[in-house]
Structure formats: structure tokens, C-alpha cells
């Protein structure tokens, strides 16, 4: 009798309640208990999202698994949940990543274990909330609530410059989202007192209004994605965050921005989106090309992957704003694939960092001699990051480029440079770190992957390969949702 359960609520609240439990029961003396409870919570949280996939009807248009309850009646805000194919995949990705992050932090985190685990569980639940919310204010509350745990994660368990990075992260994202809030309240007033996204979808708005609201939305989502030129918080945050923080940041949090475009900007403001599309595409292409070049010269592995993330997210925004089915589906597949690949790459760097306490490429060399298993897995993820056919990285990029050709050949030509740059910066880093002679005695003393690390990376490797070889299970839940979305975008809402 699984049908009767409010699955979406469970997906949101199980991790959060598990987080509370960890916080209440776990202290530093009892770290093992905290780890076990956190793992149980994460696995259970992932478990409840699986029926979402099996019971999802890929042919049905609109939202599924709807839940509705009044929440703040004075403002007509409702606890309104529902998902389509896009949110489904992101919720699965999020819950899956949480399990990996809990395992990845198992021995590495030694101080305040309970708080660490709890922060990740809170984050997981709250982000599921973002993906499931169908009420704009609920969406905003979840969207903003992600800030506090991430702020604490970076600031408490981060590297030497963690405080600067944490504050920068917080203020950047808050700046964007406050204007977003003003825009939401404006829409609330215009729509006659409703925060429901479904009402917003039907709301006619004049072009100047659409453009202004679009800009306010854009501030929030572009910072989160992050798009050039508001990306500067990301490398700092990534470099200073602990491995788990980087993984969640890259794999899930960046997707909140792109998801915002898909769920809010496009359907609510179709004319504004068309009007601004050229601008967004330009920024996306700058991200793809310019940030790809920036990544090439990085000396710090985490920074390199961070810049590579920005470049890949440029693909996502490009795919979204060319308004055709290939581009859109490609963007969403790219989001999921990037979740796996960038998460895996950050975990790989974490594996090295835990042993050597350095992220500098120059400190490494010849790691393959001491860590062959690790080198093989790292290879797979590096290739996926550069978009090799047969890995998940290829599918999304290929579809986006195909979509871009349809829209404008030059978009596609610029975007396709990533196939060169992406391969260049990833493989060049890989070569310098893994191949060559053993660089120093620290590298000579390295030990290969532990069983725990192998489990985490192995699971991700399976996901990357599966998605690359047989993307259909991922793509088929998207078709109807993407069609719905494109219908919304093509229908003008001018009064």
C-alpha cells in the first residue's frame, strides 16, 4: 500500500527529521551513532524516491503526485507539491547524492560529526522541497533555506579561507534571491492574491512587466547557476568547502538555478524569456568558451573543476534558452550528467586531498603507480567530463549542440569548442596528476582506494556509464514534460 503515502512529503521530511535525530542523539563522543543514523536517514530518503520513478506516468502531461494543504491562509500560501519529469530526475539525483556524501564523509570528518551529517540531511530535504514545490512562496522558502546549512558547511568544515568563501557565497546568493522575492510578491498582487505557480502560468502580463520580472528572476537564478559574470563566488566556495560540500554544491545546488529557469521563468514569462533569450545565450556562450579557457590555466584541481562546472552549466542555460525540444532535453540530461560527473570529480580530488592535504596539481605526478584503481576510475570521470561518447557527458552536450544548430549555426559552433577545451583542461590535469614519474615521496607513499571510497566512486561510475550507453530511461520521463514546457513558452501571454 505505497500509493496512499504522500511520497513527495516523505522525500522532503525524512532527511530533515533524520537530521534532527542525528543532531539530538549524536555528540562527538558518539560519532559512530551519528554516522549510522545519518546513513539510515539518507538511504531511507533515497528509498522513498524510487517509487516516484516506478509510479511516474511518462505520458501524462502536467504535474503528478500532487499534494495540497493550506499553509499560511492570510497570504493564501499553500503547501502545494507536485512533480513532472524534470523534477523527478533532480529529486532522484539529489537523494542519491546525499547517500554518497554521507558515506564519503564517514571517516574524513572527525570534528562535530553529528552537525556535519545533519547539515547535509537538512540540505537534501530542503532541496527536494525546491524541486517539488508548486507554490511560489514555498519554492522561495525552500530555495532560501538551502543557504543556512551550506553556509555552515563551508564555514565550519572548510579550508583555510573558509570564512571569506562562506560569507561571499551567502551574500551573493541572497542578493539575487531578494529581488526574486520582490518579483514574486508583485506577481502575487497582480494575480489577485495567489502564489500558486499554476495560477502564475495563466497570468497575462505585458511585455515591459515580463522583462522586469524576468530580470529579477534572472538575478536569483543566474547567481545560483552560476552564469558569467556572477560566477565568482563559486570557485571560492568550492575550493574552501569540504569534499561533501563541493559535491552537493556542484551536483545539486547549481541545478536549483537552472531548475528555476525551467519551472518559473520560461512558463510564467514566455515573452520576456524570448525577449531576453539573446542576452542569456550570449552569457551562456561566454561561460562555455571563456570559462573553459580560464579552467585551462588553473593550478588548483578543485578550482579547475569549479570552472569546468560553470562552463558546463553554460551548456545547460544555452540548451534551455534556444527553445527547442533537443536543446531543452539535452540541457536537462546535461544537468543530471553533470551532477554525477562533477560530484565524482570532486570526490576524486577529495580522495587525493585526504591523503596529501594538497589540491595543487604541481604537488602530484605519477599517482597511477601507487593508486591504479583510483587512476582508472578518475580516468572514466575525466573522460565523461570532456564529453566522450559512451559516457553521460556526451549525451547532453550532443543534444544541446544539435538543438543549437537548429536555432543558429554560430551558437552551435561556439558551443562545440567546449569539446576541445573541455578535453584539453580535463585531460591535461589528469595527465599531470596521474601520469609521469612518481613526483615525490609523498606520492610514493600513497595507498589505493579504501573499500568505502571504491563503493562511492564505483556507484557513480555505474551511473555515468549507464546514462551514457542507455540514456532512454532518463530521457523517456522527460518527453512529455519538455513538450508541456515548450507549449508554455510558445504561447504568448501578452494581454
Amino acid at each position: 500500500m505505497l500509493l496512499g503515502f504522500p511520497l513527495l512529503s516523505l522525500a522532503i521530511w525524512i532527511p530533515i527529521l533524520a537530521g534532527v535525530l542525528v543532531l539530538v542523539t549524536g555528540s562527538d563522543r558518539n560519532a559512530q551513532a551519528a554516522r549510522l543514523i545519518a546513513l539510515a536517514g539518507a538511504v531511507l530518503g533515497f528509498g522513498v524516491t524510487l517509487p516516484l520513478y516506478t509510479r511516474f506516468d511518462p505520458l501524462a502531461s502536467g504535474f503528478q503526485f500532487m499534494e495540497f494543504a493550506p499553509w499560511i491562509e492570510s497570504f493564501n500560501v499553500n503547501y502545494h507539491l507536485g512533480i513532472d519529469g524534470v523534477s523527478l530526475l533532480l529529486i532522484l539525483l539529489n537523494s542519491f547524492t546525499t547517500v554518497l556524501v554521507v558515506i564519503a564523509g564517514w571517516e574524513v570528518i572527525k570534528t562535530r560529526v553529528a552537525q556535519y551529517m545533519a547539515a547535509f540531511l537538512f540540505l537534501s530535504g530542503v532541496m527536494n522541497g525546491v524541486f517539488a514545490a508548486l507554490d511560489a512562496l514555498l519554492f522561495y522558502v525552500f530555495f532560501e533555506s538551502t543557504l543556512i546549512p551550506m553556509f555552515v558547511i563551508i564555514g565550519v568544515w572548510g579550508g583555510p579561507n573558509r570564512v571569506y568563501a562562506a560569507v561571499k557565497f551567502f551574500l551573493y546568493t541572497l542578493l539575487g534571491s531578494l529581488l526574486f522575492l520582490v518579483a514574486l510578491i508583485y506577481l502575487y498582487n497582480v494575480s489577485g492574491g495567489s502564489f500558486s505557480l499554476l495560477d502564475f502560468y495563466r497570468l497575462p502580463l505585458s511585455l515591459p512587466v515580463q522583462v522586469l520580472v524576468f530580470i529579477a528572476f534572472f538575478m536569483a537564478f543566474a547567481v545560483k547557476v552560476p552564469m558569467w559574470p556572477v560566477h565568482t563566488w563559486l570557485p571560492d566556495a568550492h575550493v574552501e568547502a569540504p569534499t561533501g560540500g563541493s559535491v552537493v554544491l556542484a551536483a545539486i545546488m547549481l541545478k536549483l538555478g537552472a531548475y528555476g529557469f525551467i519551472r518559473l521563468s520560461l512558463p510564467i514569462l514566455p515573452d520576456g524569456s524570448h525577449y531576453m533569450a539573446g542576452f542569456v545565450i550570449a552569457l551562456s556562450l561566454i561561460a562555455v568558451v571563456y570559462i573553459g579557457l580560464v579552467a585551462l590555466v588553473q593550478a588548483d584541481m578543485k578550482k579547475l573543476i569549479a570552472y569546468s562546472s560553470i562552463s558546463h552549466m553554460g551548456f545547460v542555460t544555452l540548451g534551455i534558452f534556444i527553445f527547442n525540444a533537443q536543446g531543452m532535453e539535452g540541457a536537462i540530461i546535461q544537468m543530471i550528467s553533470h551532477g554525477f560527473v562533477s560530484g565524482a570529480l570532486f570526490l576524486c580530488v577529495g580522495v587525493l586531498y585526504d591523503r596529501m592535504h594538497s589540491r595543487m596539481i604541481a604537488d602530484y605526478g605519477g599517482v597511477v603507480n601507487t593508486m591504479p584503481v583510483f587512476a582508472a576510475l578518475f580516468m572514466l570521470f575525466a573522460l565523461a567530463n570532456s564529453g566522450l561518447p559512451g559516457t553521460s557527458g556526451f549525451v547532453g552536450e550532443f543534444m544541446v549542440i544539435m538543438g543549437a544548430v537548429k536555432a543558429n549555426f554560430w551558437y552551435a559552433a561556439a558551443a562545440a569548442t567546449t569539446l576541445v577545451f573541455g578535453a584539453a583542461y580535463t585531460l591535461w590535469m589528469y595527465k599531470r596528476v596521474i601520469f609521469g614519474a612518481v613526483a615525490n615521496h609523498h606520492v610514493a607513499a600513497l595507498s589505493d582506494l579504501s573499500a568505502r571510497e571504491f563503493l562511492v566512486l564505483g556507484l557513480l561510475a555505474l551511473a555515468v556509464l549507464a546514462m551514457g550507453v542507455w540514456p532512454n530511461p532518463f530521457a523517456e520521463v522527460l518527453h512529455t514534460s519538455v513538450n508541456d514546457l515548450l507549449n508554455h513558452v510558445t504561447q504568448s501571454k501578452l494581454p
Binding site: I72, E73, V141, L178, L181, I185
Partner: protein, 482 residues
């Protein structure tokens, strides 16, 4: 129809007055070691007021003293919150004042007199009543600031507070006298009627309005009448600062509602005071939030943050409709809760001979006591207006009212300054969580403080997840009273 005695609307005030006299006499016979008796009696007096107000409350406004005094739903709700605020303040400050030799009869007497003044202000329906309540409150507060006789800072703060406060009262009184000249009445409901029918001369009214708004600005601590706020907040004993920053803000809100909205709420006058409030609100947001960044003393920082919050409150009121007033009331209630918690935390960390009033003193609190650090984190994020804390909904409702009134640009300015505000709240969180502690003294407050502090901090989260009851209460009470 139940029988209503003519004095029934004023029962809580009468009860408190009687209790003050009783406590005054009883305190003479209590030795210093048993001062706790006075404390208990004070709490009992407030609890009694709470019960009486609750039992005599009704949705219909009731007038007494020939229409000088009103008891409506808004006054009931605000009074209940005032009692609760004062009771919380007494719990928080008991150990603190005891350690500083202030645990004396005078302290409680002044607290109760100030409370009585606030109650009278809240229920005033006559300019004289309003003024008397205001002065009773203000005079008690002046002397409370100076209560620490041998502290030079406190004396200076009290002087400043008194001189500027007297000036502001003078301005207010002058404005009121002009209102009387223009309309021939001091009764607020009559005043509104006369202005509505256009008998009074507008020039005189607007002139009066300027003085009244200036006086109000002072009482709220809004820019450009904010000069006293940082000095008084800093100089006064923390218990008194907590008091000044909590319940009197509720009374000041009532004051604005009675005078500006009920008395001078005619449409053509609303337009006039809206302009003035816009200027004050924007300046308060700007100066409060920007200056707070430069502060190293937590009490001063919170003082400037108060100025910023008052700017937000003014935004709610200047929207000029029921939504805005409801939002303003919700904002002030939430603000008082946050303020109680933050200053309470300063007192929790302080001990005999040591004031934890510098930002530095919060360093590494998470390592010393994770629970209090978490409570403070909730309070600070609530002040910054980050969901899922209740501060977010307070800001949300005000912004909604402002946008609804057509001032989208004001809302944009407000969010930009609250972003700046987020920086210094965040800095405190940073100090608590990311920095190493210099102080290793154990934090061991009494059981009652511990419970209250936990409740206060968690309230940020609970009201953040379930804001509806509190929000509806504010909106309903405003709607029933206007």
C-alpha cells in the same frame, strides 16, 4: 448581553496600579535576601493583568472615562504581548540585575510603572490620555537607564535620553495643541470625524502633522531622530536596554495607529504623512543598516539594527491600508521577540563583573555551548530575514503591503538594505561558529532562563514553519479595531 460595568475596559490598568502600590508597601518590609518576593509579586501582577485582559477582551470596542479610554481587540492583543514581553524580560534579567546590585524594589517599581504607561498609551482614545501614558512610560525609562548610579556611561545615556526625549515630547505636545486649535477636540474619534468632514483648516493640520511625526520618529528611533538610540542602548544596563527595545516598541506602534491612522487617517492627510514616513523609512534603513556594519559592540550593533527594523515597520505603516497596518503589527511583534532573545543572550553570557557585550565575546560560542549558539543563529537569521525563520515572513508581509500600495521601488530599496543588514548578522554567526573561543567560563544560567531562551530561539523556527496563527492574530485585531 453581559452587564458591562463602566470601568471594565480599564480593569487591567486599575489592577496593575493597585498591585504597584501593594508591591511598594510590601517591598519596604522585605530584606535584601528575600527580594525574590518582590520579583514574584511583580510577575504575579503581570500574570494577573494577563488573565484580566484575556477574560475581558471582546471584539467590540468599549469606551470608558467619557470616551478617553478604549478597549478594542488591537489593544487587547498588544497589551497581552506587552505583559508577555515584560515577563520575559524580567526572567532574563533576574540574575543579571542581581549581580549588579540592581535587584531592588525600585527596579520592579519602575518596570511596572513603565508597563502601566504603555498600557494607557495602547488604550488611549484621547490626546491627553495618549500623552500621559507616553510620559509615564518615558519618565520611568529615563530613571531606569540611570539606575546604575555610579556608572558614568549610564548617567550620560540617561541625560541624553532625557533631554532629547523631553524635546520630542515638547514637539509632540505642540503638534497636539495645533490639532486642538484646528478641530476643537482632543478625542481621537471626534478628531477623525471633524477632519473627515473638512471643517478644519488643512494648513494647520499639516503643520501639526509635521510636529507629531517628528515626535513619533523620536519615540521609535527612526532617522533623523535616532541619535539617542545607540548611546542609550549602549550605556544602559543590558536588562534596561532589553526593556527599552521590547515592549515600548509595541506601545509606540499603538501610538502610531491611534494618532496617525485613527486620528489623522483622512485620505488627504494620509498622503501627507506617507511622504514623511517614506523619507524616514528609507533613511532609517540606510543609516541603520550601514552604520551597524562598523560596530564592534554588540549592543550598539543591535541599536543600529533596531533603527533599520523601525524603517521596515514604517514601510508597513506607510502603505496606508489594513494590509499594511497588519503587516506592521506582525513585524513589530516579531521584532520584539527577536530582540528579547538577542539581548537575553547577552545577559546569559554575562556574569558578575563581565559584560558579554562585544562581538568578540561571542567568538567560538558553538564550541562552548552548541545549543545557545544554535539559538543565537536562529535569532540572527531571523533578524536578517532568511527563511525558514519567522523574520522572513515579517519582511515578506511588509514588502507585500508596500508593493500592493504601488511602491515597488521602495520594496527594492528595502531588500537591498536588508542584504547589507544580512552581512552583520552573518558576522555574528561567523564569530560563533567559525572562530576559536577566547573565553572558557562555563555558561550556566538558571533553569527558567534556559527554558525561556530555548523557547525564544525555537519560536523563530516554529513561527517560521507555522506563521499563520500569529499573522492572522495581527491582521484580525487590526481589522476589528479600525
Amino acid at each position: 448581553m453581559p452587564y458591562i460595568t463602566p470601568l471594565m475596559p480599564a480593569y487591567p490598568e486599575l489592577f496593575l496600579l493597585v498591585m504597584v502600590c501593594v508591591i511598594l508597601v510590601v517591598d519596604l518590609f522585605v530584606s535584601d535576601d528575600n527580594r525574590i518576593v518582590t520579583y514574584a509579586l511583580t510577575q504575579f501582577a503581570l500574570a494577573g493583568c494577563l488573565a484580566i485582559t484575556f477574560l475581558t477582551s471582546s471584539a467590540q470596542p468599549a469606551y470608558t472615562f467619557s470616551g478617553m479610554f478604549v478597549d478594542d481587540l488591537m489593544s487587547d492583543v498588544l497589551k497581552l504581548l506587552v505583559y508577555a514581553g515584560v515577563m520575559m524580560m524580567l526572567v532574563y534579567s533576574r540574575a543579571y540585575v542581581a549581580a549588579r546590585g540592581l535587584f531592588r524594589g525600585e527596579f520592579f517599581m519602575l518596570v511596572l510603572f513603565a508597563t502601566l504607561g504603555m498600557m494607557i498609551m495602547i488604550s488611549a482614545n484621547h490626546l491627553l490620555t495618549l500623552y500621559l501614558g507616553l510620559e509615564l512610560q518615558a519618565l520611568s525609562l529615563y530613571s531606569m537607564v540611570a539606575l546604575q548610579r555610579d556608572s558614568a556611561v549610564a548617567t550620560e545615556a540617561a541625560m541624553k535620553y532625557f533631554v532629547l526625549g523631553a524635546l520630542a515630547s515638547g514637539m509632540l505636545l505642540y503638534g497636539m495643541s495645533m490639532l486642538y486649535g484646528a478641530t476643537g477636540t482632543l478625542e481621537i474619534t471626534r478628531l477623525a470625524e471633524i477632519i473627515f468632514y473638512g471643517v478644519a483648516r488643512d494648513v494647520v493640520l499639516v503643520f501639526a502633522l509635521v510636529f507629531i511625526v517628528a515626535g513619533l520618529g523620536f519615540k521609535l528611533g527612526a532617522v533623523p531622530f535616532h541619535m539617542w538610540v545607540p548611546d542609550v542602548y549602549h550605556g544602559a544596563p543590558t536588562a534596561v536596554t532589553l526593556f527599552i527595545g521590547s515592549a515600548p516598541k509595541l506601545a509606540a506602534f499603538a501610538f502610531i495607529m491611534r494618532l496617525l491612522v485613527q486620528g489623522l487617517g483622512a485620505e488627504r492627510l494620509v498622503e501627507e504623512w506617507q511622504q514623511m514616513l517614506i523619507v524616514m523609512a528609507v533613511l532609517s534603513l540606510a543609516i541603520g543598516n550601514i552604520t551597524a556594519i562598523a560596530q564592534t559592540n554588540l549592543k550598539r550593533m543591535l541599536a543600529y539594527s533596531t533603527i533599520g527594523h523601525m524603517g521596515f515597520l514604517l514601510l508597513g505603516i506607510l502603505s496606508g491600508d489594513l494590509i499594511g497596518y497588519g503587516a506592521g503589527m506582525f513585524y513589530v511583534v516579531v521584532y520584539v521577540l527577536m530582540n528579547l532573545g538577542s539581548f537575553g543572550m547577552i545577559m546569559v553570557l554575562s556574569r558578575s563583573g563581565f559584560e558579554a557585550e562585544n562581538l568578540e565575546d561571542f567568538k567560538g560560542l558553538n564550541a562552548r555551548n552548541p545549543w545557545y549558539a544554535f539559538m543565537m543563529l536562529l535569532l540572527m537569521f531571523s533578524m536578517a530575514g532568511v527563511p525558514p525563520t519567522v523574520g522572513f515572513y515579517a519582511k515578506l508581509s511588509v514588502l507585500q503591503a508596500v508593493i500592493n500600495a504601488g511602491y515597488v521601488w521602495l520594496a527594492v530599496i528595502a531588500v537591498l538594505f536588508s542584504l547589507i543588514g544580512a552581512f552583520y548578522y552573518l558576522r555574528l554567526v561567523k564569530l560563533m561558529y567559525f572562530d576559536a573561543s577566547q573565553d572558557t567560563a562555563p555558561i550556566e544560567p538558571h533553569g527558567d532562563v534556559r527554558m525561556l531562551m530555548s523557547a525564544n530561539g525555537l519560536a523563530m523556527l516554529v513561527f517560521g514553519i507555522m506563521p499563520e496563527p500569529l499573522m492572522a492574530l495581527c491582521i484580525d485585531s487590526i481589522q476589528a479595531s479600525l
